[in-house]
Symmetry: C2
Subunit: 308 residues, 2 copies
C-alpha cells in the first residue's frame, strides 16, 4: 500500500486576510505527517503529528489560537481513531495543555475508556506526564478579537467561525493510510467563539467529527458542530462508502444532505480504504492539502486545486 | 398514527435477584410514557417521563441508583433527540441533579448547543431552575456494593455491569412515536462501576446511545459503552432501516455485528417510522417493555415475551 495523507484546517467564511496563513499551515501539516508515513511510521502517529503542527499554528482554531468561550477561556477537544480495531481516544473540556490530540492518543493507548472530559481528563493527562501550561498562553490576539466581535451580536454563525467573519479560525483534522493499510483519523478544535462554558461539540463524538475503519476508510469533519453531530456526518460518509460510493461522491452527498436538512454548513476530508480522496465543503472556504503518489495538492476555494 | 412506546432498563449479566425489580420498573416506565401519548402529548415528553420513572428507581443505573466512579461519586449523563428536526439535548458529567434527562430536554429547547458537560452543564441547569441535591442522596446501597465488588478485581466487564455480576444495574432508554408521527428517543445512565473520573460513555454521544429521525425511526442503546460508541450502534441501526431493513432485523444485525467486531455485548430498542418494533441484545439479559395497539408486552430473557 502506498501511504496517503490528507488534512483540513477548518470550513467556514474564512476572511481574505487569513487565506495565505491557512494554506501555508495545511501544507506544513501534511508534509509533517507524510514524513512519518514515508519513514514507515503508523497512520496514528502521522495524523497526530499533522494535527500537532496545526495546534501550534495560530491560523487554526486548535491548541494555541483556539477560540474563546463566553467567559474568555479556551476549552479544547480532540479525538483520534484507529481503523484497524476501531480503538478511540478523545478528550473534551481541556484547558491547560498545548496538545489535546496527544492526550487523546494517550487515552487510546493507555485508558480502558474512549472519552475523558474536564477535571478527569486533566488528571489523566498529568498522570501520563503531560505538562500543564498557563491557560492564557494558549490565547491568541485573533481569538480575543473574535470573541469581541461575537459579543457585539451574540449570534452563532452558520459555521463555527460565524457569518460575521470573526477571524477565520478553524477546526483541524487529518486522515491517513500507512504502508500496512491501516487507516487513522485525528480531529482537534477550540469549538466556536462565544460558546457556553461546558459546551461539547462534534469533534470528540465518534461518528460526528471523526471516524476510521480499515474496511471502509476514514473521515474528519469541520463546520457547524451542532449540525455535524445531529447528522453524524463522519459516519454518514463512511456508510455511503460501505454501500459502494466513491470517497468523493460520498463526501459530497453527505455534506450537502446535512446542509440541506439542517441549514448550516460543514466540510469533510475522506480517504477510502484503497486511498481514494474525497474533499467537500458547503461553507465558503475550507483549507485542505493532501499528498498521494509524491504529489502535494492543496486548496481553499471551491473547485480550486493547486500543486506544490 | 397510533402512538407506540418502548423502553429498556439496561443490557447485561443481570443477577436473578434483580430480575423482578427490573421487570416491574420497565412496565411502570412504559405505562407512564404511554399515558402522555394517549392524552395527545408529544413523543419528547413521553420518552422524558418514561426515563424519569426509571431514574427514580434504584433498580436502574440512572439518576438515583447510578453506579459509582473510582472515587465513589455519581457522574451521570443523558441525551434526548427529536426526530422531526434532529434537535438534540444532552448532558454529561452531572453530579448533583435528580433527573439528568430533564436537563438534557432543557438543553434541547433552550440552548444554542446540543451537549453540555461538567460545571457548564451545572450552571445551565441552575439558571433554568433545576434544584441541586446532595450528591450522596443519589447513591444506593446496591451501587456502593457494586463498586466494592469492582475494586476486588478492577476489570471492566463485557457490559457496563460487568461479567462479575455486580448488582444488575443498567442504563435506561425510551423510544416513542406520537399521534403526529413524531419520533423521539431518550437515554440516561450512570455509566460503569469503577469508571475513571471524567469518563464519558456512549449515552450522550448522538448516533451511539441515541438517534431519532422521523423519516427512518428511533433507537436507544445500552451495554458496553466504549464498544457502542466505536461502532456508532444507534446510527448503524438507523442506516440499515434507511436501506430497507425491518426494525427487528436492523437491530439484530447491528447488535451482532458490533459484538462480533469488538467482542463486547450490547442491546438496543428500535421503532421504525411506521411503528415496527426491534429488540435485540447480545448480553445475557435486557429488560424491555412496549405498548402498541393497547397491548403491553415485556421481557428480560432471550426469546421471552410476556403480555401484561
Amino acid at each position: 500500500m502506498h501511504p496517503v495523507i490528507i488534512v483540513h484546517g477548518g470550513a467556514g467564511d474564512i476572511p481574505d486576510s487569513r487565506v495565505q496563513g491557512k494554506l501555508d499551515g495545511v501544507k506544513a501539516a501534511v508534509l509533517t505527517g507524510n514524513k512519518i508515513l514515508q519513514q514507515g511510521g503508523s497512520a496514528l502517529d502521522a495524523v497526530e503529528a499533522a494535527v500537532i503542527s496545526m495546534e501550534n499554528d495560530e491560523y487554526f482554531n486548535a491548541g494555541y489560537g483556539s477560540v474563546l468561550n463566553l467567559c474568555g477561556e479556551v476549552e479544547m477537544e480532540a479525538s483520534i481513531m484507529c481503523g484497524k480495531n476501531l480503538d478511540v481516544g478523545a478528550v473534551t473540556l481541556i484547558k491547560e495543555f498545548e496538545h489535546p490530540i496527544s492526550i487523546a492518543h494517550k487515552v487510546l493507548t493507555d485508558s480502558p475508556h474512549s472519552l475523558l472530559g474536564g477535571e478527569g481528563a486533566k488528571l489523566f493527562a498529568i498522570q501520563k506526564g503531560f505538562a500543564t501550561v498557563p491557560p492564557d498562553s494558549l490565547i491568541s490576539d485573533n481569538a480575543k478579537h473574535a470573541l469581541e466581535e461575537f459579543l457585539k451580536h451574540r449570534e452563532f454563525g452558520r459555521t463555527e467561525i460565524g457569518v460575521k467573519d470573526e477571524g477565520g479560525v478553524g477546526t483541524v483534522g487529518a486522515v491517513a493510510i500507512d504502508s500496512k493499510g491501516n487507516v487513522a483519523v485525528a480531529t482537534s478544535t477550540g469549538g466556536m467563539s462565544g460558546k457556553a462554558v461546558g459546551r461539547i461539540g462534534d469533534t470528540p463524538q465518534i461518528g460526528s467529527g471523526t471516524y476510521a475503519d480499515n474496511h471502509i476508510g476514514g473521515v474528519s469533519t469541520t463546520g457547524h458542530g451542532e449540525s455535524i453531530l445531529k447528522y453524524c456526518l463522519a459516519h454518514s460518509i463512511i456508510k455511503l462508502i460501505e454501500r459502494g460510493s466513491t470517497a468523493k461522491n460520498a463526501t459530497e452527498v453527505a455534506v450537502n444532505a446535512m446542509t440541506s436538512r439542517l441549514n448550516n454548513t460543514a466540510g469533510a476530508i475522506t480517504l477510502s480504504a484503497t486511498g481514494d480522496v474525497g474533499i467537500n465543503f458547503s461553507s465558503k472556504r475550507m483549507a485542505w492539502a493532501f499528498i498521494k503518489e509524491a504529489k502535494l495538492l492543496y486548496g481553499i476555494e471551491r473547485d480550486q486545486i493547486f500543486e506544490a
